[in-house]
Amino acid sequence: MFSTVIPVQGTFDIAKGRNLLRSHIAEQHWPTTTNVRAAALLTALGDLIVPACLDFSVPIHVEFAPDGAHRGIHVSCEVPEYCATDARMVQVQEALRQVTDHLLVDVEGGTVYITAYLHV
């Protein structure tokens, strides 16, 4: 199991994260289309975090499960609720649903908890 944290504040961080995921997907010899789904997932999360103009980074946690029934990528992050306007949340959730195999979004105590699974 490989895991990493991608701190995101601007679009450069998203681009850097996409490149990092691509390297690890290549190491796993997973289909190249996995790159596209992983990049789309990270980009959609960026669409929520980056326009909020936060003065701090939001860590995106990424875990690679190389074997087993849940072989794939597990991504999670916690975003302050004030970043997630209703309109933006609807748009981002729609994008995430299109990309992922399983998506959980919970709002609790002023924080939006997002967990997404991408099976290979």
Binding site: T11, F12, A15, K16, R18, N19, R22, S23, A26, H29, T32, T33, N35, V36, R37, A39, A40, L41, T43, A44, D47, A95, Q98, V99
Partner: protein
């Protein structure tokens, strides 16, 4: 004797095509350039390249339309297609997949790195090559 791999680049910007060809020449990869979709489709059929690298924003037909045609044609269906484009929204990426692209690389600060990783994965350049 093994023949050198050939990449067909479908890209309407001469500057970007020149830059791309310069990167590929470092790895002994020949580059064919088409400046629009119809020319790209014709060259793909005639030359059967090892890989097609396709922009999205093209005159007359967009890259998604070109990709769909390539994947519908028996003569070109097996050629891998990488979309390399400034269209970098998540729905653009998913549209690329739906059109049949094998990979999608946004033209960001890491585009060259990503492209080289993709070429290594496809066996077009050696695993130990550096960017």
């Amino acid at each position: 004797m093994d023949s050198r791999p050939t990449v067909l680049l479908i890209e309407d910007s001469p500057t970007q095509a020149k830059e791309f060809a310069a990167h590929m020449s470092r790895f002994d990869i020949d580059v064919l350039v088409a400046t629009d979709g119809p020319q790209g489709l014709r060259l793909a059929k005639e030359m059967t390249p090892s890989l097609i690298v396709l922009d999205v924003n093209l005159p007359s037909m967009n890259g998604f339309q070109v990709c769909r045609r390539l994947k519908r044609d028996e003569a070109t269906v097996a050629i891998p297609v990488i979309m390399l484009t400034s269209a970098d929204r998540s729905d653009d990426m998913m549209a690329g997949l739906e059109a049949g692209a094998d990979d999608y690389i946004p033209k960001d600060d890491f585009a060259v790195d990503s492209l080289l990783t993709a070429l290594r994965t496809m066996g077009l350049i050696p695993q130990d090559s550096s960017s």
